[in-house]
């Protein structure tokens, strides 16, 4: 690869830290695994710090309780009183996506295998999470309503011809759900990090070019700052969208229409 080339995909490469990718060696500790553990440890620290159950809550406890109350309200608003049962999964996916997205934005790239790796920038992660959501929807739907669950695809108050037309559309849109649910947080993180990488490279290349390049470099630096702020917003929005869509899909399964 030539000197001036930008390689924005390099930051998503999964590299082994212990062990190597070889045959007969299925268990490799990668940078993805390392950062998953770091994210889980941070979540644990955050939750443990706020679970002291003091009568007069401190700042930390208010933070944790506020976050749980926020997700609880959301689940209650979209599923109803039965929603409490599904709070554990919705809250788990919300807080994991939130922390993984935010920690992927940390700006250290000093030591190559240990640079902040956004675990949610791999479709394997978000795809498995959306499959779990979809499995909960299917399991709850078929357990509660048996074969009556298929009436989910039959909009009520529509003449028979309309039903015949709408059934395949509703069915396909139902089947696409796990795909779109997992694709959304993945692509949002992926696209944002590529954008940051490209404009970060422009800053350095502009400085190296000198002359008019320095003006472009300063512009790109401002742009990177702005995009970083936008990334923080997108990280939170994607976690929120995943949680609210999961609870709405569960609502379909619990209450049908």
């Amino acid at each position: 690869m030539a000197a001036g080339d930008i390689d924005p995909m390099h930051q998503f490469v999964i590299e082994p830290i212990f062990g190597s990718f070889q045959r007969n060696n299925p268990f490799v500790f990668t940078n993805s695994a390392l950062w998953t553990l770091i994210v889980l440890f941070t979540i644990w620290l955050f939750m443990v710090g706020g679970m002291k159950r003091e009568l007069v809550p401190g700042r930390w406890q208010i933070m944790v309780e506020g976050l749980i109350g926020f997700v609880d309200n959301m689940v209650h608003a979209s599923i109803g009183p039965e929603g409490r049962k599904y709070l554990p999964w919705v809250f788990t996916s919300f807080i994991f996506l939130l922390f993984a997205n935010l920690m992927g934005n940390m700006p250290f790239g000093v030591y190559a295998p240990a640079h902040p790796f956004t675990v949610t920038s791999q479709f394997t992660f978000t795809g498995v999470m959306s499959l779990i959501s979809f499995a909960i929807v299917l399991g709850v739907g078929f357990y509660k309503h048996k074969l009556h669950f298929f009436s989910l695809f039959m909009p009520s108050g529509v003449p028979l011809v309309g039903k015949l037309l709408l059934f395949p559309i509703e069915f396909v849109s139902f089947l696409v759900r796990p795909f779109s649910l997992g694709l959304r947080p993945f692509i949002a993180m992926f696209a944002g990090h590529i954008l940051l990488d490209i404009f970060g490279n422009f800053v350095v290349q502009g400085l190296q070019a000198g002359g008019g390049g320095i003006a472009i470099s300063i512009l790109c630096f401002l742009f990177v700052t702005f995009i970083s702020a936008l990334e923080l917003l997108v990280a939170a929005i994607q976690a929120y969208v995943f949680a609210i869509l999961t609870s709405l899909y569960i609502n379909d399964a619990v209450n049908l229409h």
């Binding site: 694709l183 692509i187 949002a188 709405l248």
Partner: protein, 77 residues
């Protein structure tokens, strides 16, 4: 035209879709603000629908971006 330049042009054309999704996202939030100013009491209860609309509009733009990336990096023609 050789394949390398055709790839780059194709990826640039695929990026138009991202701008189209920007129109969609702007429309979703714009009409939400418009209608919530008409009836502020009902605005909070409709936030779920707002984010479903936003998510659907945004996803299609992200698809366009994904296609551009596939053309550029994953397609070894």
């Amino acid at each position: 035209m050789d394949l390398a330049s055709a790839k780059v042009i194709g990826a640039g054309l695929a990026a138009i879709g991202v701008g189209a999704a920007a129109l969609g996202v702007g429309y979703v939030f714009g009409s939400f603000v418009q209608s919530s100013l008409r009836n502020p009491a009902a605005a909070d209860s409709q936030q779920g629908r707002l984010f479903i609309g936003f998510a659907a509009a945004e996803l299609l733009g992200l698809m366009a971006f994904a296609i551009a990336m596939i053309i550029l990096y994953a397609f070894k023609g």
